[in-house]
């Protein structure tokens, strides 16, 4: 498995294959839902399913039944590679506020970016 979920101190490693649950070997799929046209697909959770089509159907019933979306992506959880070591990866950026584009005047004509 290459699903390297960062583990916080004291936290048990994530059981991404659902072993120990009632799942009888169905793989896990990560679900991404697009709330409406023009927005990006956003990760919303995961489902167990034997194949991609069933995963999409299960995602539809689990994550869009209150009209949350107009499009669903699923991807095998084992195909996702995650970053690790948040200290060296991300903390160096925390003291570099000048990288935020907050020092520009945005003309009114541009509207909502």
């Amino acid at each position: 498995m290459s699903y390297d979920v960062p583990v916080a101190p004291g936290e048990a490693p994530a059981d991404v294959r659902g072993e120990g649950s009632r799942s009888h070997g169905w793989p896990l799929w990560e679900v991404f839902v697009r709330a409406k046209r023009g927005l990006n697909h956003t990760h919303v959770g995961s489902v167990h399913a034997p194949d991609a089509e069933t995963a999409i159907q299960n995602a539809r019933d689990g994550y869009t039944r209150r009209a949350e979306g107009v499009s669903v992506w699923v991807v095998r959880s084992s195909e996702i590679h995650a970053s690790d070591d948040a200290v060296s990866m991300f903390e160096p950026f925390e003291d570099k506020p000048y990288r935020h584009p907050t020092f520009y005047e945005i003309p009114d004509e541009v509207g909502q970016l």
Binding site: R22, S23, H24, W26, V47, H48, A49, P50, D51, E53, T54, Q57, N58, R60, D61, G62, R65
Partner: protein
């Protein structure tokens, strides 16, 4: 005694369709927490709630047409078994997941052409309900079809269970696509389709799914009916006993 008018006929027809949807919703609800996966529990619950929602619309419209003040709850909770006119297929009790999916496939393959036809009904209220039903049934059919293919083309065990369910339920399929006098009268007014006119599409849909799934049609030539006239199998009574118990024991109870 009331004279038969197009209005009373339409009310009777709406209750018939409402009963189909209420009873299959109850059967699906019974299975929640027994599906092979949590995800399937959710999907079965969603499907059942779709059917329940349609039943509520149909009963409410039937009550409005009848004009005697009967509410959706009155139709669902205050009628005895012989007054229910659902098809026998939908009351057949759950056995295993394959059985539920086969029952659903047979019902979905009937509902899709039914709702498509009714969405152009001369009664605009019914047409509105049917337009909603068509979207839901189209998805139900997609889901039941894909599961039948997976079961039939899966393991020896899953294929055997799916085939056994097809055999067991085959005798209840003709009733779905058989017309009666009520439908004939309403069809002449352009309000509803004759169920027999839906038979062709039902057969094409089911045959295509079964072929994809490498399963066979039912081989039992015997066909039974009676649901549309209130003559049910032994399974509807216990279902209604559970469904109606609260309102029967505490009439009018609300919370």
């Amino acid at each position: 005694m009331k004279t038969i008018t197009t209005e009373t006929d339409l009310g009777t027809y709406l209750v018939r369709l409402g009963d189909d949807n209420l009873i299959i919703a109850q059967r699906l609800g019974e299975y929640i927490a027994s599906a092979p996966e949590l995800e399937e529990d959710l999907a079965i619950a969603n499907t059942g709630l779709d059917h329940l929602g349609i039943a509520r619309h149909l009963y409410t419209l039937a009550g409005a047409i009848e004009g005697d003040g009967r509410s959706e709850d009155d139709f669902a909770m205050q009628r005895p078994e012989r007054s229910f006119t659902n098809a026998l297929l939908v009351e057949q009790p759950n056995t295993d997941f394959a059985f539920i999916m086969v029952r659903q496939l047979f019902f979905d393959a009937y509902q899709v052409p039914l709702w498509r036809w009714l969405s152009a009904s001369g009664n605009v209220d019914l047409a509105g309900i049917a337009a909603k039903g068509l979207k839901e049934a189209t998805y139900h059919l997609r889901r039941s079809s894909s599961w039948i293919v997976r079961l039939g083309d899966g393991t020896a065990e899953s294929a055997a269970r799916a085939q056994a369910a097809i055999e067991g339920l085959w005798r209840y399929t003709s009733e779905l696509v058989t017309s009666d006098d009520l439908e004939d009268r309403l069809a002449r007014n352009g309000l509803v389709p004759r169920s027999s006119d839906l038979a062709g599409e039902w057969t094409v849909t089911v045959d295509a799914v079964l072929e994809d799934a490498m399963l066979m049609r039912g081989s039992d030539p015997f066909q039974t009916s009676g649901g549309r006239t209130g003559v049910h199998t032994e399974h509807l009574g216990p279902l209604l006993a559970e469904l109606q118990w609260m309102q029967r024991s505490y009439p009018g109870a609300t919370w």
